[in-house]
């Protein structure tokens, strides 16, 4: 199914938390719209993300059995929000879905998707350590790529690189 059909289906089954769909559009000089290229995605309310993912996985027409990617992005350096991204894939229906959920930077927490997909476990660990997002309900929220005593959230745009670590300085 293409994106339109998926979005229609999501609305038809009243997927919880579904907010909007964002599709690529041409630049429009009159509306001063620079346009957007790339893939379409849906935005979802972060408070209901687990229910949304469960519906995506269990619905027979959507059948998104695989969580391909779970990551986050910091759209603007001075912005207030982080966006958590989910990529779903259906093997039998051969279609994809991109999902975005926006959470505030000051209180960056969202429900953990490990209840729905086991694949989320490691992805959330990485996302959590890189962006400082707390995944509520995650069974093992240790750092995965960074050392356990690392300070700061590297992938945030306002991250300051430390010049010293455990006595090793890079001056």
């Amino acid at each position: 199914m293409d994106f339109q059909a998926i979005h229609d289906r999501l609305r038809a089954i009243e997927a919880p938390g579904l907010q909007a769909a964002d599709e690529p559009r041409e630049p429009n000089k009159e509306k001063k719209d620079p346009g957007r290229s790339g893939n379409p995605f849906v935005t979802v309310d972060p408070a209901r993300i687990v229910e949304f993912l469960t519906v995506c996985r269990d619905d027979s027409k959507l059948d998104f059995r695989i969580l391909i990617d779970l990551t986050a992005t910091d759209p603007k350096a001075d912005g207030e929000e982080l966006s958590v991204l989910f990529e779903l894939l259906s093997i039998r229906k051969k279609h994809r879905l991109s999902i975005k959920a926006s959470i505030p930077k000051s209180d960056a927490s969202i429900q953990s998707a490990t209840a729905v997909y086991r694949a989320a476990q490691w992805h959330e660990r990485e996302c959590g350590e890189m962006y400082g997002i707390t995944f509520v309900g995650h069974p093992d929220p240790r750092n995965i790529l960074l050392p356990d005593d690392w300070v700061g959230y590297p992938l945030r745009k306002d991250y300051e690189f430390p010049t010293e670590y455990n006595g090793i300085s890079c001056e």
Binding site: P24, P27, P34, G35, R36, S37, G38, N39, F41, R65, I66, L67, I68, D69, T71, T73, D74, P75, L85, E87, L89, I91, K94, H95, R96, S98, Y117, R118, A119, Q121, W122, H123, E126, M130, D140, R142, N143, I144, L145, L146, P147, D148, D149, P154, L155, K157
Partner: protein, 403 residues
């Protein structure tokens, strides 16, 4: 059998644990405790710099905890600080055994954000040839090093004999043997030198005979089958739940390949012409989804790639190899996720741009990272020698696991 941890340290659970059969273990007067061994970061069988904290009771592994990050090189942060084309050499280095595919994934993702850009057909065909030859090279290493892990020293040398030829081919076309930076945004860097395409065809013919040698020497070797069949079984449900892709998924019997089912580049034409066959595991030697099935899928894929290469060689025609891209690329605003079929699984790039020279987010979804997660669940309950077999069958590259 949970491993209690505090801030990353590993502490033993209490004595008298409950075994998988449900009974409580009978503790005798002689107090024995499990041995905690560190497998890695330097170890001949962990396929890179990775550390697995094993808890073993004699030879039986009772707990396994992978520790990553030894090869973390901040690729995603760098992506937000360098220009679009300058990021290309970084993509080579995450899965350094299949660098062409990495370049391809990144280029396709950026090109998805540039709808006006037209990629010449010759460039697409050369891209496909290079990606498929690199798939063969990567699977040769998977095959050779897996034999080495199991104790068969010779297939490794045979595999590398062919790999040397592939690397010589790549050296002729782009100057590098391992990290190519050849497939660029808009096409490929330069055209194939004269005679290169004929040599690729010659390679395909020779490789087909050598393939039979590999198959007879290792894949159906009785001792090898005994070591890998019925080990590390991943049922289909578990594979889907863990988000496995590539040979890990196909080894469990799931018939899905991105090249055929969600085609990109010219793969639609190739699969319509019948040149793209996707091998899946069938549980021939043991259980469906065991280590042998995964190796079998990889070895068969090497053979099937030859058909794809031959189709491309037959349909290639002279022409330009690089689209109309400026020297400093400015990508229009937008965001895209593009996933391609890496030898290890689905390599996904999520790139987002705000119209400038530098990406605002360059996320790499490495298949090895996701594929490695099954270790925590699969290794307890196996013998130490089997853990090595299981790690080898995941065919991870730690560069991609850590990025």
């Amino acid at each position: 059998m949970t491993i209690e941890q505090q801030k990353g340290a590993l502490t033993l659970g209490s004595e008298g644990r409950v075994l998988p059969s449900g009974e409580r273990e009978f503790m005798m007067d002689v107090s024995t405790s499990d041995l905690e061994v560190n497998m890695g970061p330097q170890h001949p069988a962990t396929h890179g710099v990775m550390r697995i904290l094993l808890r073993t009771d004699g030879e039986l592994v009772t707990g396994a905890q992978p520790h990553l990050g030894y090869l973390h090189r901040c690729a995603e942060k760098i992506g937000e600080n360098v220009e679009w084309l300058q990021y290309l050499p970084y993509t080579d280095r995450y899965d350094y055994l299949a660098a062409m595919n990495n370049n391809l994934g990144y280029s396709l993702a950026v090109e998805a954000l540039m709808p006006g850009l037209e990629i010449p057909r010759r460039a697409t065909l050369i891209r496909t040839i290079c990606a498929e030859i690199n798939r063969i090279a990567s699977h040769l290493i998977a095959f050779g090093t897996y034999g080495l892990d199991i104790g068969a020293f010779t297939p490794f040398f045979y595999a590398f004999r062919e790999r040397e030829w592939i690397q010589a081919l790549f050296e002729k076309i782009c100057g590098a043997r391992l990290t190519y930076s050849y497939i660029r945004i808009g096409g490929v860097f330069n055209d194939a030198p004269p005679g290169w395409l004929q040599e690729v065809g010659h390679f395909c013919d020779v490789f087909e005979q050598k393939w039979q040698e590999y198959y007879d020497l290792l894949v159906v070797n009785h001792v090898f089958v005994k070591r890998t069949a019925d080990i590390g079984v991943i049922p289909e449900e578990m594979a889907l739940d863990f988000g496995l892709t590539g040979p890990m998924l196909r080894g469990s019997g799931v018939d899905f390949d991105l090249r055929r089912d969600m085609p990109y580049m010219v793969y639609k034409e190739i699969s319509d012409a019948g040149a793209l066959k996707v091998p899946i595991g069938r549980g021939e030697m043991g259980t469906l989804g065991d280590c042998w099935d995964r190796l079998f899928v990889r070895v068969q894929e090497m053979k099937e790639s030859l058909a794809v290469i031959r189709w491309c060689l037959d349909s290639i025609e002279p022409g330009p190899v690089l689209g109309d891209v400026p020297k400093v690329i400015k990508v229009p605003p937008g965001e895209a996720y593009v996933g391609i079929e890496n030898p290890r699984g689905e390599l996904g790039h999520y790139v987002s741009s705000d119209g400038g020279k530098v990406a605002t987010r360059c996320r790499v979804r490495g298949p090895s990272f996701t594929n490695l997660a099954v270790l925590e669940d699969m290794m307890p309950g196996t013998l130490l020698a089997d853990s090595v077999a299981i790690i080898g069958s995941t065919d991870i590259v730690v560069g991609e696991t850590d990025r």
